[in-house]
């Protein structure tokens, strides 16, 4: 079965829940994307940018000291943190920016939480000579000052979003409002595997290079497929990219790690799979943190990139189908993961990725040494040092 179906549904999830004004543009986008997907010239250009510009393939690295420290299963890292701009986000952005250029849209808009997607979009805009505006919640602007500056250096305009919780969710609202207004000239470069169809499909497709590489690399390096693949899930783009090529491999366990914030019981978290209910936000049906009367709740996470109350619809589908498992990691555990990887391997992960690392460590301790875990190390942690310093009670001069 090919998912999504013709109207963008993954079972009961996904779809296109948007104002009528956006329907024709979304259908046009879908057609343009499907044509590009079949077009060898487009695919060749995308592949060459991934290789020569983004720096792919990224290594699959055996974390020997981390493995030894945990004393159980062997931990391998899929090093998306080594991608140009410091995170997996560039894969999707290059694909969509090429599509925008192909559709002759001169202006890109994007939302960003941690700033990684904003930086990646600004980068692609600079590369292809497109105008770029990035919506970012003021709360996140404060948390991610470095990325804000990077976007500005790249020539993008960062538009502060003051509405709602002033984080990623509100940045998406503002970007959609912009798109509804300027739809004829503007390409909305959505940064996660969510939103209305065709975004979840398109973003997934551009990121499956992660899982395809990891699968082939595991075969070569380990001699077989891993026993478990683990990735953090906010909207779920790096996760679906890593997971998707393993879906048919029934023996490979697939685990998404949600932000547990201060703990599920505290109510301050972003674990929509663990504690949410089915609902509609930002154009698609999926699991959603919400009140009993259908108001979307504010997510909490130390990691701006996971601070989102929803999750991509394909994850919801495979969760219900029993193929993906979801767990949560608290802020505190993520910080421990961050420090462990930094000290033991000399790799400073993004706080998002540190959630996946923390779960992999927990899991490795329960598994025998012959088992292997592949962790999606989605981004590097330079952008987070201020947040980490604050959380650890340290001062940066």
């Amino acid at each position: 079965m090919r998912l999504p179906d013709a109207r963008g549904h993954f079972g009961r999830f996904g779809g296109r829940f948007v104002p009528e004004t956006l329907m024709a543009p979304l259908i046009e986008l879908e057609k343009a994307y499907l044509a590009a997907r079949r077009d060898r010239t487009f695919q060749a250009r995308f592949a060459s940018l991934l290789a020569d510009y983004a720096g792919r393939p990224t290594p699959l690295y055996f974390a020997a000291r981390l493995t030894e420290h945990c004393g159980g299963a062997r931990i391998w890292l899929k090093r998306e943190d080594l991608c140009h701009t410091g995170a997996h986000k560039i894969n999707n952005v290059l694909g969509q920016a090429l599509l925008a250029a192909r559709m002759k849209k001169p202006r890109l808009i994007a939302e960003t939480g941690a700033g990684q997607h904003g930086v990646a979009t600004a980068t692609a805009a600079a590369l292809l000579g497109l105008e770029c505006e990035v919506y970012m919640g003021t709360e996140d602007i404060e948390r991610q000052a470095l990325n804000v500056f990077r976007m500005r250096l790249l020539g993008a305009k960062v538009i502060p979003v003051e509405s709602g919780s002033r984080t990623l969710k509100d940045a998406v609202n503002e970007a959609l409002r912009d798109w509804v207004t300027n739809v004829r000239t503007t390409y909305y470069l959505l940064g996660s595997a969510l939103g209305p169809h065709p975004y979840p499909m398109m973003v997934r497709d551009f990121h499956t290079v992660i899982g395809k590489e990891a699968r082939a690399q595991a075969r070569r390096a380990i001699g077989r497929l891993p026993d478990v693949v683990v990735a953090c899930v906010g909207g779920g783009s790096n996760a679906i990219g890593l997971f998707h090529p393993f879906i048919a491999d029934r023996r490979v366990g697939i685990v998404g790690v949600e932000p547990g914030g201060s703990g599920i019981a505290s109510g301050k978290h972003g674990a929509s799979m663990t504690a949410g209910a089915v609902g509609v936000l930002h154009g698609s049906m999926s699991y959603l943190l919400q009140s009993d009367d259908g108001q979307v709740a504010v997510a909490h996470s130390i990691s701006a990139g996971l601070d989102y109350p929803g999750v991509g619809p394909e994850h919801a589908y495979y969760r219900d189908a029993g193929r993906f498992t979801f767990v949560s990691i608290t802020d505190e555990e993520a910080l421990e993961g961050f420090q462990a990887l930094t000290r033991l391997e000399g790799i400073m992960p993004a706080l998002e990725s540190a959630h996946a690392v923390a779960h992999a460590m927990r899991l490795a301790k329960t598994l025998p040494k012959r088992k292997t875990i592949v962790v999606g190390l989605s981004g590097r942690g330079d952008k987070d040092v201020h947040v980490v310093a604050k959380a650890l009670g340290m001062e940066i001069a």
Binding site: F17, E20, R177, V180, T181, D293, V296
Partner: protein, 302 residues
């Protein structure tokens, strides 16, 4: 015949156009929304849209966003809005349409929502984030309950979509005048006339125009070509400006009366003038005479 259909039939027979007035339920509180609805009917609103606040109103501009935030802070929910409708129904005779994003309806339960709304005496429902492709589950509940589901046509809708939407929409067809979110605009889009003409080719259902219509002059212009004119942000803004004053209900009533005025009588020059934008001074003068002391006309995009 539904109450919405009956209303438009009656108005058409008289050569009159409908004023569709939008209020955010619960702004500043549900207790204050009640007298506003009663006053809106008394001063000339032919259809009243009751907005249900939502945390993520992606089709709305800043004015309605703020109203929604206030309404949520006052504890407004879809259930409480429907309760209010049921108690208002005895006093208010014009059609009441509930305008809500989809997620609160999903959380309420589709069947239960349709039944509760119909039992409360609501006449229609508008869900801005539910295009026809996704509306079937809700329509399957609203139709048997006798609740009209009103659909949008946008400037970007293709001819095929327009046809489908015109066929599916009940009560009236809501024409979004521009690409954008709700909120006042200085000028109406130039191609609105053509957009409505195209729509008329495929339907005889009543056509109401909304988004960006905020002044009596614009209402007059749109009244030339549509069966009804929907005004939201400008009314909500008037409420915002007078909240906490004793004059709130009167001021909102005055503004609604000013909006309805040009729809009662037929005048022909208005549309061309408002479409062209007109001279600034001339417009200001007209505004001053038409609006009177009702309310200050809103500036562009809040």
């Amino acid at each position: 015949m539904s109450r919405l259909e009956a209303t438009f039939t009656r108005l058409r027979a008289r050569g009159e156009r409908a004023l569709v007035a939008y209020l955010m339920a619960g702004d500043p509180s549900l207790a204050e929304t009640r007298p506003l609805v009663v006053e809106a009917e008394r001063r000339g609103a032919d259809v009243i849209e009751l907005g249900v606040p939502f945390s993520d109103p992606l089709a709305d501009g800043p004015v309605i966003q703020r109203a929604g935030t206030r309404a949520l802070a006052a504890g407004t929910s879809l259930a409480r809005v429907l309760e209010m409708v049921s108690t208002l129904r005895a006093q208010v005779h014009v059609p009441l349409v509930v305008m809500t994003y989809y997620n609160p309806v999903l959380a309420f339960g589709l069947k239960s929502f349709a039944r509760t709304a119909a039992d409360a005496g609501a006449d229609g429902v508008i869900v801005p984030d539910l295009p026809w492709e996704e509306c079937e589950p809700l329509r399957a509940e609203t139709e048997p309950a006798g609740l009209d589901m009103i659909q949008f046509v946008a400037p970007t809708s293709t001819p095929t979509r327009v046809k489908t939407i015109a066929r599916l929409s009940r009560g009236f067809i809501y024409v979004v005048s521009l690409t954008g979110v709700t909120g006042a605009r200085r000028e109406l889009p130039k191609d609105l006339d053509a957009q409505i003409r195209t729509l008329r080719l495929v339907t005889t259902k009543p056509v109401c125009v909304g988004f960006g219509v905020s002044t009596p002059e614009q209402v007059a212009a749109v009244g030339q070509i549509a069966d009804g004119v929907a005004v939201g942000s400008a009314i909500v803004r008037t409420i915002e400006e007078h909240t906490g004053t004793a004059a709130l209900v009167d001021r909102v009533g005055d503004f609604i009366a000013a909006l309805k005025q040009p729809l009662r009588v037929s005048s022909s020059a208005g549309f061309a003038r408002a479409i062209e934008g007109g001279g600034t001074e001339e417009r200001a003068a007209r505004r001053a005479t038409t609006v009177g002391r009702g309310a200050k006309p809103p500036s562009e995009e809040d």
